[in-house]
């Protein structure tokens, strides 16, 4: 027997996931334009692996395969893995990362909706710990053409220093450790107007997609705002104290995966906080940890670790930030 309501809004998980994929398109377009089409190969590899892993895991778990495999959630994870990873990682690394994300982090915890950790970020952390060198090779804009990218992705020999530079974040930190100052370092060829050269356009693409997600009510403003404010304020404090030693908030917001994280990674509903205040705390925490790792840690990018650490806190955050229920708050009686 079916009970009320008998009418439903035309909404589905597929539609939510499809919106996310659609919103990634401007970022990917900027990626292809600035860095090269290699990323498309990575996305394809990741997508195929994710869907295959999803189908296998669903049938092993005796779940309705067609329904769950077409919900596009695995594709979103795959795209995020590909976009968070350097564009020239070898194919097997992408495959391995996606398997970690889909099999270990998602399905072993009970499948869609049950994973306490963000699959893409868990995969990123696993890989950066396991293959720190391969995960740190980021080509600057215009330095590696598509043929070389393809060659590297397919597992070709790597003459590392010849083809790759460090990321803007990495270069800055290495430079600062070598007693350079921010102002002089930013003169170098690695940097553009605000962030890494070329990468700042990709960040702009993600921002555009993010605004679409906000406009289509796929995400709420809390998470991106919390993250950007968390990262911006923390970096701003250090920058104000010591502008010679710490890069500006603008640099931090435009560099690395900040924009991707703000709109596509911390906004993962499954593993993130859900209450309005909880979302702000969760995302601000990610921003704070990301900055601390960027500025003082051993890794060039700390967003993934920030997300995982905050994922652990989600049950507590949600429990402590339950909003007042209709009629239960004292102050709203006129």
């Amino acid at each position: 027997m079916i009970h009320s309501p008998y009418i439903r809004k035309p909404a589905s998980v597929q539609r939510v996931m499809f919106n996310v994929l659609l919103a990634l398109v401007p970022g990917i377009a900027a990626y292809v334009w600035q860095i090269g089409a290699g990323i498309l190969v990575n996305i394809a590899i990741a997508t195929l692996t994710a869907v295959a892993a999803e189908v296998i895991m669903l049938s092993l778990r005796k779940r309705p395969v067609m329904l769950a495999a077409t919900d596009l959630s695995a594709v979103v994870t795959a795209w995020l893995v590909a976009l968070a990873f350097p564009p020239i990682v070898p194919w097997w690394l992408t495959v391995l990362a996606v398997l970690v994300a889909i099999v270990a982090v998602k399905h072993l915890y009970g499948g869609l909706g049950q994973n306490p950790f963000n699959p893409a970020m868990a995969a990123y952390c696993t890989m950066i710990v396991a293959y720190p060198a391969l995960m740190s090779q980021w080509p600057a804009a215009g330095t590696v053409d598509f043929a070389t990218q393809l060659h590297l992705i397919l597992g070709g020999a790597r003459e590392l220093d010849a083809v790759t530079g460090a990321t803007a974040l990495d270069a800055l930190r290495t430079g600062l450790r070598a007693n350079g100052s921010v102002a002089t370092l930013l003169q170098s060829n690695t940097y553009g107007a605000v962030g890494g050269r070329g990468w700042e356009w990709i960040a702009a693409g993600y921002l555009l997609g993010g605004l679409f997600l906000l406009a289509s009510r796929t995400i709420t403003w809390h998470l991106p705002t919390g993250f950007l404010v968390g990262l911006g304020v923390t970096s701003g404090i250090f920058w104000l104290i010591h502008p010679e030693q710490f890069a500006s908030p603008l640099f931090h917001l435009a560099s690395g995966g900040a924009m991707l994280a703000a709109f596509f990674i911390v906004t993962d509903p499954v593993s993130g906080a859900t209450t309005p205040r909880g979302k702000l705390i969760f995302a601000a925490g990610v921003g704070l940890i990301a900055y601390l790792i960027r500025a003082f840690g051993a890794y060039p990018e700390g967003i993934a670790f920030g997300v995982l650490l905050m994922n652990i806190c989600v049950p507590l955050i949600d429990m402590k930030t339950q909003p007042a229920v209709f009629g239960h708050r004292g102050g709203r009686q006129p």
């Binding site: 779940r63 309705p64 395969v65 067609m66 329904l67």
Partner: protein, 183 residues
């Protein structure tokens, strides 16, 4: 070496004192386990568990003298709750103590009743009213359905009647869905 020993001893003393204090400060009064077990039991007072009432059975469980599967009115759900509370394995209802039945109440056939008062004396919750030589009747909302009044009745005028579901007591069912329908 000596410093290390002293530090370790110091820590041991402090922690020991803290634990000791906590044990006194946060001591739990009385024997709440019996109360907790008693709260799970259905209070039918039927004695099917072979103890004279729910409380004695709760005490026996707490002491480890009785098993958790001796209460037919509590049924499977009751056993599950007891297993949860006591951290034990669930086990099915022991057959020698009876079987789970739907909730029923006693009904006295008032034409047959001779007014002997034996059932009144048997009723553990005083749910039967009547006087000697006058017919008796069961106060339905008070009856626990323990069936203790059936045996003493010399004219077998008491029957157990299942309590029907009403609009008031009807429950919404747990939503179930065909998971594989679309697969």
């Amino acid at each position: 070496m000596l410093t290390a020993l002293l530090i370790m001893t110091g820590i041991a003393l402090v922690l020991g004192a803290a634990l000791g204090y906590a044990a006194i400060r946060f001591r739990v009064e009385g024997d709440p386990l019996v109360e907790k077990i008693d709260a799970i039991l259905p209070q039918t007072q039927c004695g099917q568990c072979s103890y004279p009432g729910c409380k004695p059975y709760a005490e026996a469980i707490a002491k480890g003298e009785a098993d958790i599967n001796q209460c037919p009115p509590g049924g499977e759900e009751g056993i599950r709750k007891l297993a949860d509370l006591l951290g034990r394995e669930f086990k099915p209802l022991s057959e020698e103590h009876g079987v789970e039945k739907p909730k029923s109440v006693a009904l006295i056939d008032e034409q047959t009743c001779i007014g002997c008062t034996l059932c009144i004396q048997a009723c553990p919750v005083d749910a039967i009213v009547g006087a000697a030589k006058q017919m008796h009747t069961v106060v339905e909302p008070l009856c626990t359905g323990c069936e203790l009044c059936l045996a003493p009745c010399p004219v077998d005028c008491i029957t157990m009647v299942e309590v029907p579901e009403t609009v008031q007591t009807w429950k919404w069912k747990y939503p179930v869905f065909e998971l594989r329908k679309s697969a």
